[in-house]
Every structure is written in structure tokens, then in C-alpha cells.
């Protein structure tokens, strides 16, 4: 049996069994800023998985990573921007989407991805979210929804289910939450999907579809926050939250988004809700102001 060498020495045998060779490289190294790792996320957090699925989708779709730009807001999800080895912009709270709009319109060759959380995108960022969806603006928006404001210590979010406990709803939340797939669909998004961090392969595929489709594509990722949301709502570990996803998720492609509400520890409808063809913002722009339109002089 090989001795207790330094970490860089491969351990060839353990307990008499030959081990596979361990590479010092991760398959996604070229897309990660290794000098920024380890990341800040808690153990059991779904963000690592979400990021992994996103990078996997990028690799799978063979998009040129030199032309991909990630824009994030503020929160645990917002930190994704700092870990990807691509042009990345960690902007202000709620404002990733308008920043991404400007970025895309100034350089339409870029593939612009907004990666943020439920509070950032939907509370403070809600207005920008619905307008970008309405415009069918050419971007992919990934919302990591953990039903809470994690970074600041566990406050109520616009997605927190009724009766859930958070630090600003210590007696149980009494605000109706948003149903994000319904909100996105109603606002005009042309691609809407929801998966949990349990559904890694399907999530990666959905992100790939979202990336390749013109217009406003929205992917909601239901993700655990065991440190705060889970701990206060009877799912004290990441594993327990994943077990909940396993038990209560139901795959219904093409389901009516209106029927996809998520109650506390309740059913989670996942799948692809919307995938329609509608002219994107850029497609409409190319068509307007041209030869046929009478310009005021």
C-alpha cells in the first residue's frame, strides 16, 4: 500500500485495491477561475450544482466561451460571476438584467447570460425582469431559487412559501409568493423551464436549450439553502432538501404555469413549461425603421 505521501502524489493502491488515476485537473477548469476557489458557498448549497450544470451546458452547446458574458446581481447566486473564467459582471442588486440588456445591444455577437437569485431578480429586480421578458430581449436568465435571502442572513423573499419561517417572518410568512414560471410566461418569456438541483442532467439540457434559443429564456433552478431556509423549515441538511425534491417533484412538460405554485414543503412541478416562437427584440429591431417605415423628417 502506498505511504502517506504529499497530496500531489497519486495514491495507487488502498486496502489492496488499485485506484483509478486521479487527475489534478477538473474537466471544467478552463471555464473556472481556479485562483478564486474554493468558493464561499455553504456545504449543501445548490449553487455549486447549478454552476456545474451551466458550465456543462456551455460545453455541450459548443458556444465560444470568449463570446459569453455572465451578468449577476447581489447575493449568493450573484457570486457565480466571480468564479467563471469568462467576461463576467457582478453588478448592483436587482440590476443585472438592464446591464445585460445594454451589453447585448451594444455587442449583439455576445451570448449574454444573467445568473442570479430569487430576491435579486424578482424583488428589487422584478420590474426589469418583466420588461425584459415582455421585450423578449435576447438573453438567458437563470434564477437560482432558494426561497430566501441567503447572503444577508435569511430574510423573506418574494418566493418564500406561506407559513415558512425566515428572519423577517419569524412567526411564519403571510405574503403570497410569486410563481416564477407563471410570472415569466405571463410577461412574455419564450422559453420557461424549472428543475431542481437534483435533476442535474435535465437541468443541464434545459440550460443548453435556453442558451441556444433567441429571445428571453428563463430557467428556474430550485436549490437548497440548508444553512438558513432549510434549517428553519424542517429540512436541516442539503441531503434532506434533496430528498424532498426527490419525493415531491413531478415532471410535467407543457404544464400550465398557473398551476405550478410551490407551497411549503409541497409539490414542485418541474419541466419545460414554455417553448414558443416569437420574434425576439433583436429580430424586431432588424425589421423596423427600414425601407418600409415612413421616417419623420
Amino acid at each position: 500500500m502506498a505511504g502517506q505521501g504529499e497530496a500531489s502524489e497519486p495514491i495507487e493502491r488502498m486496502n489492496g485495491h488499485e485506484l483509478a488515476e486521479v487527475s489534478p485537473h477538473h474537466p471544467m477548469d478552463r471555464l473556472l477561475r481556479r485562483d478564486r476557489l474554493p468558493h464561499i458557498w455553504c456545504s449543501g448549497c445548490g449553487l455549486g450544482t447549478a454552476l456545474n450544470c451551466f458550465l456543462g451546458a456551455l460545453i455541450q452547446t459548443k458556444l465560444d466561451s470568449n463570446q459569453v458574458a455572465i451578468v449577476s446581481g447581489i447575493g449568493c447566486s450573484g457570486r457565480v460571476a466571480g468564479y467563471v473564467a469568462m467576461d463576467s459582471f457582478h453588478t448592483t442588486h436587482g440590476r443585472a438584467i438592464p446591464f445585460a440588456t445594454g451589453l447585448k445591444l451594444a455587442n449583439p455577437k455576445l451570448k449574454v447570460v444573467v445568473f442570479s437569485g430569487d430576491g435579486d431578480l424578482i424583488a428589487i429586480g422584478g420590474n426589469h425582469f418583466i420588461h425584459a421578458a415582455r421585450r423578449n430581449m435576447d438573453m438567458t436568465v437563470i434564477c437560482v431559487n432558494n426561497f430566501i435571502y441567503g447572503m444577508t442572513g435569511g430574510q423573506l423573499a418574494p418566493t418564500t412559501p406561506i407559513s415558512a419561517r425566515t428572519s423577517t417572518s419569524p412567526y411564519g410568512n403571510t405574503d403570497h409568493p410569486f410563481n416564477l414560471v407563471y410570472l415569466a410566461a405571463a410577461s412574455g418569456a419564450t422559453y420557461v423551464a424549472r428543475w431542481t438541483t437534483l435533476h442535474v442532467r435535465r437541468l443541464q439540457r434545459a440550460i443548453g436549450e435556453a442558451l441556444l434559443k433567441p429571445g428571453f429564456s428563463f430557467v428556474e433552478i430550485i436549490s437548497p439553502c440548508p444553512t438558513l431556509y432549510g434549517r428553519w423549515n424542517k429540512q436541516r441538511s442539503g441531503l434532506e432538501q434533496m430528498a424532498y425534491y426527490k419525493e415531491k417533484s413531478i415532471i410535467q412538460h407543457g404544464a400550465d404555469p398557473r398551476l405550478a405554485d410551490i407551497d411549503l414543503n409541497g409539490q414542485i412541478v418541474v419541466g419545460k413549461f414554455v417553448d414558443v416562437e416569437k420574434k425576439s427584440y433583436l429580430e424586431l429591431q432588424q425589421g423596423s425603421g427600414g425601407a418600409g417605415v415612413q421616417r419623420r423628417r
Partner: protein, 400 residues
């Protein structure tokens, strides 16, 4: 004339329209805005003209979105601008800070109106001048210019873009409703004759590039998205690589110092002013925007009455021309500062005068320009009073 080039020639247009044309002449190819009186015409002109030059106009859902879209567009490689008035300016403050912290070149126009709050949407004010300096949180420097005519509104928009690229900072163009809505002759030179400061790109390959290391005048070269540099840009305190560094006070000190010094240390380059009759003046009227023009007739009348009064028009208001005021103060009795607010730039004048000359504010609540006699009275008052001067035998002081 082809449709796809900026204008060239003489025009009879409003200040707002001139601003839009100035931006296009400067190479602005992205405008995001939101309707607000009295700046709406800038957006409308941009909506009409951007297709002519192959640029982008988008009306965003609010001013916060507009400011952010402008920042995003700048990082997408475009010269970008927005225009608003007081209420919208307030909404833009947080993200102005993002632009300052990330050293994003862009231009923000504030066509000031009567305030506070909704105030007097269609009428002149100059009440946002201190907000221009301190409106965003934290310690920073900012560049702000004030036009006094549609021609200047055109010229200074170009100047604003140049300064924004040279110093990698948002530049505020603090106009007012009177200048924005007046119609005057504006000469638009051919684009080829303009001095335009281009965005300075890195000359080293990505692995050697430090996106937030100042190399010329403390200003870093700017790579944009999609150029292969794989930047990380954040509003968090960051090191020269652009990576967040929020646990080390050293990084904060280095970064904030550089952001401030790159402007403060070059204020001579940024200072623009016009003056007349300063050399033998007893009283100097210091003004900006429309008020600098309004002051001309009272000064003429005062001179006709034998008062030696100088005129100092501030074009650059921020960074404030401290050295200039400090140099003038010992030689005169008083500064007279008319402004359409209750004392904002007057505070700077008084601070820099450091007691060596009086500072007489001529305030105005807003809605109109000053009546000439009000400024004339202040000049006469300034000239009449004798004050203690350093190293001077004069000691008597009349009541204030």
C-alpha cells in the same frame, strides 16, 4: 446629405436637440433613457437619429434600468449616454456609483428643473449641483460640466465623452431647463474635424493584463466583453485583477486612492472656465449654466456705475476649481454667487475663499432665472462693504 452620418452645418435647434447631436458627433452609439421633462427631447431626438448612424436607442422601464443599460453598453464597447432630470437623477445614484467603481466611461445628462421632489417639471432649476458631487454613497471624485447655451450643450457633450474615456469615469453634464429648452444657432462641425478621445485598449495579451491597474494617469486601459480578455468586473472593492478583495484594508486604500487621484490630480486638465475682467476686480460674480449668462447684464450695469466687477463662468463645476478661487480671494472684496438654488456652489466658493473674501449668495427657489436687479444689488452690496483684509490696514466692517 446621407442619412447615416452625424449632422454638419448650422442649425436653429434647442439645447436638448444639440445635446443629442453632440453625442452622435462624439461617436455615441447607445442611448437608453426614460421620459422626463425637460430632458425628454434628448431621448426623442436619439430615437429618431440613432438608426441614421447605426446606433441603438432603447426606452427603458425606468431610470435605474437606463443607467444600468448605459453601463452594460459601455462594457459592450459602445460610447453610451442617458439623459434625465432631478427625479431621475436621484434614481440613478446607486448605479452611478457602480460606474465610478468599475471605471465605466459614459455620459449622464441632467437637465435640471425646479425641485425638490416632483417640483416644477417644466421650469428651470440648478438644485442638483451638490447631488452631482455627492449623490452616490462612498468617497469618490466626479467630473461635471455645465453648458450655458445650446451651442455649449453640443460642444460640452463631446467634451464629456472625451473626458469620460480619458479618465474612465462617468461624466455628468449638468444642464438646466432654460438651456435645454431654448432655441439658438448651433454650429455642427464636420465629424472629421473633431478631436475625439478614443477608448484606450490594452496593448498586452490577456495573461498580462491587469484590468484595474492604472497605467496612464492612474487610469487603466479598458478591454471590453468579447475581446478575449475574460474580465471580471465587480462593484465590490477589488484588486488590480478585478477580483473582490473585501477582507484587506490595503486593497480598499489603494483602490479608493487611485480612483480619487486619477481625477483630483488632473483637475488642471479637466478645468474649463471663462472669465472677463478678473485682473482688477473688486467683486467677482461666479456662476454656471444659464445663470452665467443672466449675470452678464447686471455686471454691465455695475461697471457702468463704476464698480470693478469680474465675471467667472464655471464650465467645469466638479472637480471644483479650488485653486482658482483660492488665488482670486485675497485680491478682491467679495464673490457674488447667483444660482437657482439655496446655496450649493456658493458653499464651495466660500470654503475655498477661506475668509479672505466674502461670499454673497444670490439664491433663487427655482422656476425662473434671476431678475437682473437682484444680482446687481448683490454686486453693489459686495462692492460697498469694507472688510478686514489680511496684511491690510483696513479694519472697519459695516454691518452685514
Amino acid at each position: 446629405m446621407p442619412d447615416n452620418v452625424p449632422l454638419h452645418g448650422e442649425f436653429f435647434i434647442s439645447g436638448d436637440e444639440a445635446c443629442a447631436e453632440g453625442a452622435l458627433s462624439a461617436g455615441c452609439r447607445f442611448f437608453a433613457g426614460y421620459p422626463i421633462t425637460p430632458a425628454t427631447e434628448i431621448a426623442e431626438r436619439m430615437a429618431e437619429r440613432m438608426p441614421d448612424v447605426g446606433g441603438v436607442f432603447i426606452q427603458m422601464e425606468d431610470e435605474l434600468a437606463s443607467m444600468n443599460a448605459v453601463l452594460g453598453a459601455a462594457w459592450g464597447g459602445a460610447k453610451a449616454m442617458t439623459a434625465t432630470s432631478g427625479p431621475g437623477f436621484s434614481l440613478m445614484m446607486e448605479n452611478l456609483g457602480l460606474g465610478i467603481m468599475t471605471e465605466t466611461p459614459c455620459v449622464v445628462v441632467d437637465v435640471q428643473r425646479g425641485g425638490p421632489s416632483t417640483g416644477l417639471p417644466t421650469l428651470v432649476g440648478q438644485g442638483d449641483m451638490m447631488q452631482a458631487r455627492w449623490g452616490s454613497h462612498g468617497s469618490y471624485e466626479i467630473i461635471a460640466l455645465c453648458p450655458s447655451s445650446p451651442q455649449e450643450f453640443f460642444d460640452l457633450t463631446i467634451e464629456s465623452f472625451n473626458l469620460s474615456e480619458k479618465y474612465r469615469t462617468p461624466v455628468l453634464l449638468m444642464a438646466d431647463e432654460a438651456v435645454g429648452h431654448m432655441t439658438e444657432r448651433v454650429v455642427v462641425p464636420p465629424v472629421e474635424s473633431l478631436q475625439l478621445y478614443p477608448r484606450r485598449k490594452p496593448t498586452v495579451p490577456p495573461e498580462h493584463y491587469r484590468p484595474f491597474e492604472g497605467d496612464t494617469n492612474g487610469v487603466p486601459a479598458m478591454a471590453c466583453a468579447g475581446e478575449g480578455y475574460r474580465l471580471h468586473v465587480t462593484g465590490l472593492t477589488h484588486d488590480e485583477r478585478g477580483y473582490p478583495a473585501t477582507s484587506t484594508p490595503d486593497t480598499q486604500a489603494r483602490l479608493v486612492h487611485r480612483l480619487i487621484a486619477k481625477i483630483r490630480d488632473h483637475r488642471d486638465d479637466i478645468l474649463r472656465a471663462q472669465s472677463d475682467g478678473l485682473d482688477d476686480a473688486d467683486v467677482i460674480v461666479v456662476a454656471y449654466g444659464i445663470t452665467a449668462r443672466i449675470a452678464l447684464w447686471p455686471i454691465e450695469m455695475a461697471r457702468a456705475q463704476g464698480i470693478k466687477v469680474g465675471w467667472l463662468k464655471l464650465i467645469t463645476v466638479w472637480p471644483f476649481p479650488e485653486d482658482l478661487i483660492r488665488a482670486l480671494a485675497p485680491r478682491i472684496k467679495a464673490f457674488v454667487v447667483p444660482e437657482i438654488n439655496y446655496g450649493q456652489i456658493a458653499l464651495e466658493v466660500e470654503r475655498c475663499a477661506a475668509g479672505q473674501a466674502r461670499t454673497i449668495l444670490v439664491p433663487h427657489a427655482g422656476g425662473e432665472v434671476h431678475e437682473p436687479h437682484v444680482i446687481l444689488d448683490a454686486i453693489r452690496d459686495a462692492a460697498r462693504k469694507k472688510t478686514r483684509r489680511r496684511g491690510d490696514g483696513e479694519t472697519r466692517r459695516r454691518g452685514s
